[in-house]
Symmetry: C2
Subunit: 186 residues, 2 copies
DNA sequence: TGTACATCAGTGAACGCGCGTTCACTGATGTAC
DNA sequence: TGTACATCAGTGAACGCGCGTTCACTGATGTAC
């Protein structure tokens, strides 16, 4: 209940962005209120506007942060097949807050304001570039295959989450996409 | 402002479901209020609960209706490559209200109630079955490829919409996925 | 076939609630001298 | 180095608003006789 050091304020701001990056992926932008978010980050809601101009402005930053944490996660995979297995795993399906922003937020981003879409596109471009680098084969057409592979990865994870947990299709979407990409697009 | 014939009431109810099938795909479930929906269908909001138990209950029906209209659209294509071109077209990207429910709603469905997820999964199964039938090749592995192809189709359309309209990536996602599916998965 | 009455689809005002945002206030931090 | 004052991150009450849902009311439809 007092002024805080500049370093602390900066850290608090970052904490809110990080918290939002997780919560938004888990429940969507509209599924998380400003009050709920600030409470999850350890603050009261009033201070929100000291750091961000609006909830929308935070959303754009949070999308960037979500992509950054996902890029760090990707760096942990030894090669592309291993990345693919982790991306399309049952664990990833059940932990949206810690996995791909595209699979969690693409639908809402499509109807969102421009800054959010720009932040989203930047992260997606980076993911495509990394997948392309991990793909084998000759240079001509490699970018094209990488774009299609990313589409399949994002689509499969998203659809798997939309289907009831116990539906065979939930697991099949992940496995069929993993196997098909490995056997025909590597 | 009076009682209406049973046939008329039935038609009015269907009109609301059809209107919802379009509006929900365009703006998402949360982006359309009950009042707005009823007005778009030509009624006042109060009558909504004569037909539906809740907004959620309507959502499940609307998802079914959206899949049904999309199945009718699919039937118009002569073969699978033609269907693929129509599905991943610029026109489809710009007309979510008239195109694939999966690409428009998967994200929200993933966080939605069970009946909505079940209706979603039913329509998705039908789409996969149709794509499998349209795919060439031997029976072993054909289902698997169909599941991966549907994932890529839905993912590409969704991602294309999430990216800014003028970004090259918006068109590239559609084209790269069209071409890659045709050249390696048919 | 005609009459009397119950039904119920549609209307529009009203409800309680949670949302994003604003604001007066606080007191330790950061700065000027 | 010490003192006086301005700054501003965080607090919590309050705002206006739109939401999903409820309800008393209406009058033509459908039914019983």
């Amino acid at each position: 209940v007092a002024k805080i050091s500049r370093a602390q304020a900066e850290a608090n701001r970052a904490k809110v962005v990080e918290t939002a990056a997780g919560l938004f992926r888990e429940r969507g932008f509209e599924g998380v209120s400003v009050g709920e978010l600030m409470a999850a980050a350890g603050f009261t809601h009033g201070g929100f506007y000291n750091h961000f101009g609006s909830k929308e402005a935070l959303a754009a930053e949070a999308v960037g942060a979500a992509w950054a944490s996902m890029a760090a996660e990707r760096a942990r995979a030894a090669d592309f097949p291993q990345l693919l297995d982790a991306y399309l795993s049952r664990a990833a399906r059940g932990a949206p807050a810690k996995s791909c922003p595209a699979a969690a937020l693409a639908g809402e981003v499509a109807r969102g304001p421009e800054p959010v879409r720009v932040a989203f596109a930047d992260g997606l471009e980076a993911m495509i570039a990394e997948v392309e680098a991990g793909l084998g084969g000759e240079s001509p057409g490699r970018r094209e295959r990488a774009v299609a592979v990313v589409s399949a990865m994002v689509g499969a994870l998203m659809l798997s989450r939309a289907v009831p947990d116990e539906a065979p299709l939930a697991a099949e979407l992940l496995q069929a996409t993993r196997r098909t990409v490995k056997s025909t697009l590597l």
